[in-house]
Each structure stands twice: as structure tokens, then as C-alpha cells.
């Protein structure tokens, strides 16, 4: 699999895909409801924090070129730690795919298919995911690179087209409910940068490993800009309407776009773009889940268990009984899962692995020094 190397643009698009898809879903709503008018400052703050964290991750990964986090776990604690971390990330990928799939399908059901079963909508997505995964990782990454500029343009277009509807004063007071909420409590909004998770897995796939730092920083910076644009759009139009409605907040913003009497109701077009983008995102996460599974069990062929995973995701997606539970899982549970696994666990693992690496190097060095006089 590692023969399928990916270029810098493909890698950047890979990390960005998580952010843009969650931006289309309920991420801005969650952030605005937690920091109100201080959201703009909060986004700027967490983007800086995310950039610092990513820089740290790149530094920590420097000593393990071409190794992913499972290899590093293997180095740190042997097979048992590799298995533990593998299961953790496998569960993470399956969880995110399941909940994102259900959430988006519910949104589509509300907007276009009120009388259709959500299961049918999910099956259509799952069929697409299975087909793309059969085509292979490289095909998915390439497709994602193709879709990414379109979706980024759609977010920018929604922002620019809504200029006329903006009330910039809605961002006042700048610190919202106070400095504590905006900066300290608001740090939990770091979960928005969950795309960082791919940075732990892409090193073996990069064509040029020396560009890893550049890729990571650019992708996180672009994610921050993308989040800022979408949150600003929603905050300046109508924060109350966004928190009141169950559908995708950016879709609500796109419904306000009109250019005179000639160009109206572009929302359906945006939804089509976002559907394609979501398929790309789900396929990538699904692909990483299968790769982790493959690595854990040392399986050569991936094809047979794709169906198994699809069934698992479908079943898991149907567990939440109502929209309230989905929103709770998507906003609250997902937030803590990201903060714990992507930031706390993975970063700690990298730090410990670096300490172990340094200790080993020191021992090797000391042995050499000891031996030198002899």
C-alpha cells in the first residue's frame, strides 16, 4: 500500500476535507453557541493554538520519518500498545464515519426527502463509499483533490454573496461572554481541527517526507480560514436562526443568496457539491479505518472486510433514536472523543516515543563514549 505515494496538494486536501465537511454540518453552530459573539476571536485563537500543536507534532514526527502512529506505538510499547492505539483509532474512524453519515443523511431527509427512510439515504452513501474503496486509496485521494477547490469556492462564494445581508455588529462584543469563555473554555473548540488525525497516518504515503511540516501547517491554516469564513457568514447573518434550526447552518446561509431576480435559489447546487464532498470525506476516513485494521492483523488483502465495515457503520449509524441524540453525539461526544484521542492520547504517545528515542540515542552515544577510550 505504501507504494501509492501522495503529493503535497493531495495531502493538504486530505487534511482539509475533515474541516470543510464538518463546517457544512453542525460545527459552526456548535462553536457559535459556545462562544456567541466572541466566536471570531475564538477561531483566530484556536487556529493559532492548532498551528502551534501541529508544529509540535511535526517536530515530534521528525525522528520517525515514514512511520505512522501505529509504528511509533510499536516502537514505544511493543505490540500490545500498537494494538491498543490501533483499536482506539479504528474505533475513532468508524465512529466519525457513522455519526457524520447519519447526521448528513438526517439533514438531507429534512430538506429533500421528508417521507423517505433515513436508512435508504445512508445506503446510497455507503454504496458510494464501498465503490470508492474498491477503487483504492489513491483514487479516493485524487478525487478528493478534484472536489476540494470546488467546495472551498462554495464556502467562499456563500461568504461573498451574503455580504449584503451582513450585520457586522453581531460580532460585538468581540469577547462574547468574556475572556474566560472565549479563550479558556473556548480552547475546547480545538476539536474543530480534527483533521490533524490524518497527520499521524500520512507520513508513509508522502512522496516527499521533508515537506511534511509545510503540508501540515498549510492545511491547518487553510482549515482555520475556512472555519473563520463560514462562522463569520453565519454570525453576521443570523446567529439566532442558526441555533434554532436543525438543518445544516451553511445551507441556511446559502438560501439567502440571490442576485436580483435572475439568479436565485442556489442552495440546491451547493447541496450537490457538499454531497460529493461528503462522499470523498467518508471514503477517506473509511479507507483509513480499513488500513488500521489491516495493519493490526497483518492482512494483505483488504477487499473482503470492506463489506463487514460497511455493515458495522450502517448498524452503528442507526443507533441514535432521534435528532436530539444525533446532535448530542455530534457536538458533545465527538468533541471529547477528538480532544482525547487526537490531541491528548496521540500527542502524549509522540512525546513519550521521543523521550524513549532520545534515551536510546543517549545510551548508544554513552556506549560509544565509554568504548572510545578502549
Amino acid at each position: 500500500m505504501t507504494n501509492q505515494k501522495i503529493g503535497n496538494f493531495e495531502a493538504i486536501a486530505l487534511v482539509l476535507t475533515v474541516m470543510v465537511n464538518h463546517v457544512v454540518l453542525n460545527l459552526p453552530k456548535r462553536i457559535i453557541s459556545s462562544t456567541s459573539s466572541g466566536t471570531i476571536v475564538n477561531i483566530l485563537f484556536i487556529t493559532i493554538v492548532a498551528l502551534v500543536i501541529v508544529y509540535l507534532i511535526c517536530k515530534l514526527l521528525e525522528k520517525f520519518p515514514n512511520l505512522d502512529i501505529l509504528d511509533i506505538a510499536n516502537f514505544l510499547g511493543g505490540k500490545w500498545l500498537k494494538t491498543l492505539i490501533g483499536i482506539l483509532f479504528l474505533a475513532y474512524f468508524l465512529f466519525t464515519v457513522s455519526i457524520t453519515l447519519r447526521s448528513f443523511s438526517e439533514g438531507l431527509k429534512i430538506i429533500f426527502f421528508p417521507r423517505s427512510s433515513v436508512g435508504v439515504i445512508m445506503i446510497l452513501f455507503l454504496v458510494a463509499i464501498v465503490i470508492t474503496n474498491k477503487l483504492g486509496f489513491h483514487a479516493i485521494v485524487r478525487s478528493n483533490l478534484f472536489v476540494m477547490p470546488i467546495i472551498l469556492f462554495s464556502i467562499l462564494f456563500v461568504f461573498i454573496s451574503n455580504f449584503g445581508n451582513f450585520t457586522v455588529q453581531r460580532a460585538l462584543p468581540l469577547l462574547g461572554e468574556g475572556a474566560y469563555t472565549t479563550f479558556f473554555a473556548g480552547t475546547s473548540n480545538l476539536f474543530a481541527f480534527s483533521g490533524i488525525v490524518y497527520l499521524y497516518f500520512i507520513p508513509p504515503y508522502l512522496k516527499n517526507i521533508s515537506d511534511q511540516k509545510k503540508i501540515s501547517l498549510i492545511s491547518v491554516l487553510l482549515s482555520g480560514i475556512c472555519l473563520l469564513l463560514s462562522v463569520a457568514t453565519l454570525l453576521f447573518i443570523s446567529p439566532s436562526a442558526i441555533t434554532a434550526e436543525e438543518t445544516f447552518p451553511l445551507y441556511l446561509a446559502s438560501r439567502n443568496i440571490e442576485f436580483g431576480r435572475f439568479l436565485q435559489r442556489l442552495d440546491a447546487l451547493f447541496l450537490l457539491i457538499w454531497i460529493i464532498s461528503l462522499v470523498a470525506y467518508l471514503s477517506i476516513s473509511f479507507s483509513f479505518a480499513t488500513k488500521v485494521f489491516q495493519k493490526l492483523l497483518n492482512i494483505k488483502h483488504t477487499k473482503w472486510y470492506i463489506g463487514l465495515f460497511t455493515l458495522f457503520i450502517f448498524t452503528f449509524s442507526l443507533i441514535p433514536e432521534n435528532m436530539y441524540q444525533i446532535i448530542f453525539i455530534e457536538n458533545t461526544v465527538y468533541q471529547y472523543v477528538v480532544l482525547v484521542i487526537v490531541f491528548a492520547v496521540a500527542l502524549s504517545l509522540l512525546v513519550l516515543a521521543n523521550i524513549k528515542y532520545n534515551v536510546i540515542q543517549k545510551k548508544k552515544g554513552s556506549v560509544l563514549i565509554d568504548k572510545a577510550p578502549v
Binding site: 439566532s240 434550526e245 431576480r261
Partner: protein, 339 residues
């Protein structure tokens, strides 16, 4: 499958149920069947129900195709209903994905049913086009403003601003009472202020006119603004695109001078607290082109121009002050957005 095109619906206070909802549809395929000179026929249906969803359900029982609100352009509330409070309906409408946030909110001085039944788009073949163009006429009349559902909802939720809506009147009604916006209030008595554009001189082909604004305090209607007060609101909120205004000739009060007005710069608003009371200072800069006067331009001296300028400034200042006092003191509703 063709859905009946549903262009507007209105809310009245119900007799046997809480609300009476009136729907206006265009006959499916009617636009295709008619010749270009004919206006597409519309159907008006009214039902009484406890809420909007129940009303739609009821309508669905006697129309052969499912009603879809996604084409709705205008939402009309009767004055009686608006005075009782319309937050429940506004929240319901905002929660309905199919209702578009750019639908216009109109408060009818009569019942919503009467307003909808009076619609007669004589210059348009399609009702939809009529509903799109009508609120936008405020860009060149200054008689009302384009208020959307989302604007109304935002202001309803806002702690610093109160909602406003378009004031609509069936023309027969406005003729009887001498004009909706201008009647019975200070702005109307100015006469020359709205002189050349008096509603009573309009041919009653459209059947409705949207002149003036409905002022709310929270979700309840508390008052109405005349044409000149609406113009004052547009000037202060920086929403005036252009309009025509008639003022008395300073040299001959029996005559009028017509202006084509546009905003020169955004109004500068400064608010300070004096003795615990907010003191609002508004600096307005307008461009006025004299569009009709009883002299040819070569005969107008600089002194005469200065007198006309002063007269126009004084005229507008008086009406803006009246508007501000009316909304602040009488209505206690902040619709001017001093920021």
C-alpha cells in the same frame, strides 16, 4: 407531478380555531396555457386551524396535489392578529425548511384574506413576478422597505432592535380611509410631503398597496408609520436607495418643489449618555436633484437655491425628529438601530 404554485399565505384571527390561514395558489400549468396578455389565474383558499401545519394539512385534504410552501413569496398577517402577537407563527415558519427566509412579511390593515383576495397584478402575467417586484419598489419610492422573514426573526430575537414589517392595504380600503400610511397621522397632514404620490390618485388596478411600516414591540404590533416617517426610517438606517419628495416652495407656499433624493453618505450617528439618558446625534447628508419647479433652471439664482436647500433641510429635519419622537416616546420601540 406538478405542485400547485403557492405564492402567499395570510394569517387572521380564527373564529372557531386559533388562526385562519388563507392560501393563494396559481393554477398548475396556467402560465403555459394562457396567452401572454393574460394574467395567470389564482385560487384563494381559507381554512381555520390551530397552527400553520394543521392548516396545510387541512388544505391538502381538498386540493388534489400536495401543498408545498417553498414557492411562497409573501406572508401576510392581519393587523388584529399582529396586535395579539405573532412570535409563534414566526418561529414555526423559521423552523420550516421549505419556507424561504427571504419571504416578505406584510401586515395588512384589513384581514389577510381580504388583502390576498384584492391582489390583482394588472401589469404582470405571473403572480410570482408581481410579488418579487412589489416590495423592491421601495428602492425607487421610499414608501416602504423590503422586510424578509429572516430580518423580522433576527429583530425579534435581538436585544437591541425591534421588528418592523411592510404595511399593506387593499386599495379600496385605502381610498375609503384616504391612504393607509398617510392617513390619520402627522406625516399625512403635511400634504406636500407626499403630494404628488398620494395613493388616492393611483388607479386601483393592483388592488393592494404597500405603503408605510408596521412597528412592533417584541412580537406585538404597536403602531404604524406614514410614508414620510418610513422615509425617515430609511434615511436613518441607511437603507434609502432613491425616492421622490415634494416640499412646499419656500417662496410660494401654495406651490411644491419635487426632489429626487439619494443618500450622499451613510448617516453619522453618535450616542452619548447625558444625565442617564441616551442623547442621539444624527448627521444626515442627502443629495437632492430638483426634478420639477415652476421656473426654468437658468432663472434660479444662488439665493433661491440656498433658500430651497434650507427649506428642504428644515422639512426633513422636522419629519425625522417627529419620527424619532414618535417611535421613542409613543411606541417605545427602537427600530432605528443607532449603530
Amino acid at each position: 407531478m406538478t405542485w400547485p404554485m403557492q405564492w402567499q399565505f395570510g394569517f387572521d384571527v380564527g373564529e372557531s380555531e386559533r388562526i385562519k390561514v388563507t392560501f393563494q395558489f396559481t393554477k398548475p400549468n396556467s402560465s403555459g396555457e394562457n396567452t401572454s396578455s393574460e394574467t395567470a389565474p389564482t385560487i384563494v383558499d381559507t381554512v381555520e386551524a390551530a397552527c400553520i401545519d394543521s392548516a396545510v394539512n387541512l388544505v391538502n385534504t381538498f386540493v388534489s396535489k400536495e401543498v408545498n410552501l417553498s414557492h411562497c413569496k409573501v406572508i401576510v398577517f392581519s393587523e388584529e392578529m399582529a396586535r395579539q402577537g405573532i412570535s409563534k407563527e414566526i418561529y414555526s415558519l423559521m423552523n420550516k425548511v421549505e419556507v424561504r427566509p427571504d419571504s416578505n412579511i406584510i401586515i395588512s390593515t384589513t384581514t389577510a384574506q381580504e388583502y390576498i383576495e384584492s391582489v390583482n397584478p394588472s401589469l404582470e402575467n405571473l403572480v410570482a413576478k408581481f410579488y418579487e417586484i412589489l416590495p423592491r419598489s421601495s428602492e425607487y419610492t421610499g414608501f416602504t422597505t423590503d422586510i424578509h422573514l429572516i430580518d423580522f426573526f433576527n429583530k425579534l430575537e435581538s436585544k437591541s432592535e425591534e421588528p418592523i414589517a411592510i404595511l399593506g392595504t387593499p386599495v379600496s380600503e385605502s381610498n375609503e380611509s384616504g391612504g393607509s400610511g398617510g392617513s390619520g397621522s402627522s406625516g399625512g397632514s403635511g400634504g406636500s410631503g407626499e403630494g404628488g404620490s398620494s395613493s388616492s390618485t393611483l388607479p386601483a388596478n393592483n388592488g393592494i398597496e404597500n405603503i408605510g411600516l408596521a412597528v412592533f414591540k417584541n412580537d406585538k404590533l404597536i403602531g404604524k408609520l406614514t410614508k414620510i416617517e418610513t422615509l425617515s426610517n430609511l434615511i436613518i438606517t441607511n437603507k434609502l436607495k432613491s425616492c421622490r419628495l415634494s416640499i412646499p416652495d419656500p417662496d410660494d407656499q401654495s406651490k411644491a418643489i419635487d426632489f429626487y433624493l439619494t443618500l450622499d453618505t451613510k448617516p453619522q450617528i453618535k450616542v452619548s449618555i447625558l444625565n442617564g439618558t441616551p442623547y442621539v446625534n444624527i448627521k444626515v447628508k442627502l443629495n437632492g436633484r430638483i426634478s420639477s419647479i415652476n421656473q426654468i433652471s437658468e432663472e434660479i439664482t444662488d439665493e433661491r437655491v440656498a433658500r430651497i436647500e434650507n427649506s428642504a433641510s428644515h422639512y426633513l429635519q422636522t419629519h425625522i425628529l417627529n419620527y424619532l419622537y414618535k417611535t421613542a416616546k409613543d411606541y417605545k420601540s427602537d427600530i432605528s438601530r443607532y449603530w
